[in-house]
């Protein structure tokens, strides 16, 4: 599934259409001093999501914390380098406060993006499906 996400990402980045930030996107900017720090921010984000959706079981009844459907609906992308960008792309169900950790609600594409030379990592949340032509490359200057 992760490779599928990366394929979509590669396709989006390969699109000739360069889009600006979609109107539906919510962007949080995280200041960073360097590319190394940006990498760490993105890796922390990915690790946090993996811990959030770590499966566990009730010790008495054996009930799983997360259903299979819920884990499928919350698909966590890897941290990766793509050209001049560092990024991760995940599909997450977010609540009305844009917080992850839910099984029902609105699915979003959540992108953590760093563009070379910038002093920030952008956390971009866009309701699914994202607008046609949307791709992180278009978001870098």
């Amino acid at each position: 599934m992760t490779s599928c996400l990366l394929l979509i990402l590669a396709f989006l980045m390969g699109c000739s259409t360069v889009t600006n930030m979609p109107e539906s996107a919510a962007v949080r900017r995280i200041p960073v001093d360097s590319k190394d720090q940006a990498k760490k921010v993105i890796e922390n984000h990915v690790r946090y999501l993996r811990l959030l959706f770590e499966q566990s079981r009730d010790p008495y009844y054996g009930t799983p914390k997360w259903s299979d459907e819920c884990l499928k609906a919350n698909e966590i992308g890897e941290s990766a380098a793509a050209g001049a960008a560092l990024l991760s792309v995940s599909n997450l169900i977010l609540d009305s406060k844009s917080q992850p950790g839910h099984c029902k609600g609105v699915s979003h594409t959540v992108v953590m993006l760093y563009c070379d030379g910038q002093k920030e990592v952008q956390e971009i949340k866009i309701p699914n499906p994202p607008p046609a032509g949307f791709g992180p490359r278009g978001l870098c200057p």
Partner: protein, 341 residues
């Protein structure tokens, strides 16, 4: 005119079920690592099975595999491997973490056993003090439980039998009872009694046994500022040893009398076989959570439930159980993480 009068009465008096609840309304309920408000809104879902929170947005998370400190920027600052269970608390001054862990060890021809490992950890991840239930039981002369663990518990821990089943771990506050020295710890052992530890966990004695809970299941045992014990008693039985029921009590161990008792009518309607939590909110109100049905704010003087929250036991729209539910003012924690509430 009548309508306006009615509205005025409602406005002035407020909903009757909530009277007395106002001062807790802006606080948050916590079950495991999920934060909710009284309106059933989930404010935050955090990683782990049990969490403890700090005003700066950081938190400690305990799971089947690790104890972790996670910053407000979601970075894992440190982690301690191990199986953690039942609850995770902070010291009264919030500078130490009180964790209930496990030790798995082989026993000749009997497979693997589980003992409880108590840990006091500082906020930098340094284990300050440790104690193991094997030594605790030896010192206090209490027999091993030798309980066969559930299938799920076996798969989680890799152990088949447990010698103890510690389920709560609290710092003892200032109080007038000489049996409970402030700064030490009280740890409850399911069906084995409660243990009183020195601040360094190096010395241990058995807490004064309560008739009400002796050799019964109990959870979430705490010392109150009055020197009493507040606890969730899971299993009483009637005179014929049938029809189990639960109660929540504050008991003066010096007199064995209950200062208050919460139970249902008929009593059998309130029963938690495995879990249960209680928290003193002020001199009158307590928060009670049972295993399967909900969380209740109970006014002890009026003997009235002010609020019954069901969502704590129905996360992700799936009915489930709660080990315990607690109430905290997490306003600064949520704000620090950018969560509006």
């Amino acid at each position: 005119m009548r309508l306006w009068m009615c509205l005025l009465v409602v406005f002035v008096s407020g909903p009757s079920y909530g009277r007395g609840l106002e001062k807790f309304w802006n606080h948050q309920l916590v079950t495991g690592c999920t934060v909710l408000d009284f309106n059933d809104t989930i404010l935050a879902q955090l990683p782990g099975k049990f969490c403890a929170f700090f005003d700066d947005g950081s938190f400690v998370s305990a799971s089947d595999t690790h104890l972790r400190f996670i910053t407000k920027d979601n970075e894992v600052k440190w982690e301690i491997p191990g199986h953690f269970h039942h609850q995770l608390n902070l010291s009264i001054d919030k500078t130490k973490i009180l964790a209930l862990g496990s030790r798995i060890f082989p026993v000749k021809s009997n497979g693997s056993f589980r003992s409880d490992r108590l840990m006091v950890v500082d906020l930098a991840g340094k284990i300050l003090h440790e104690a193991d239930s094997e030594e605790v039981l030896k010192t206090t002369g209490i027999r091993w439980l030798a309980w066969e663990m559930t299938q799920a518990f076996r798969e989680i821990t890799g152990a088949g039998i447990e010698m103890s089943h510690f389920n709560s771990f609290y710092e003892i506050p200032k109080n007038p009872n000489p049996a409970f020295k402030a700064g030490g710890y009280i740890v409850n052992g399911h069906s084995q009694g409660s243990f009183i530890f020195s601040p360094d966990l190096q010395s241990v004695t058995l807490a004064p046994p309560l008739r009400i809970a002796f050799l019964n299941n109990s959870h979430d045992v705490q010392v109150t500022e009055r020197g009493n014990l507040l606890l969730f008693v899971n299993k009483h039985r009637d005179g014929r040893h049938e029809n189990p029921f639960s109660t929540v009590n504050e008991v003066d161990p010096r007199t064995q009398k209950s200062v208050f008792e919460f139970s249902a009518t008929p009593k059998e309607l309130f029963y938690s076989e495995y879990c249960g939590g209680v928290q003193e909110l002020d001199g009158d109100h307590v928060l009670i959570s049972d295993q399967l049905t909900g969380t209740f704010v109970y006014a002890t003087k009026r003997k009235k439930i002010l609020s019954a929250v069901r969502k704590t036991h129905k996360l992700n729209n799936t009915p489930g159980q709660a080990q315990q539910v607690k109430l905290f003012d997490l306003g600064k924690f949520l704000t620090s993480r950018g969560i509006k509430f």
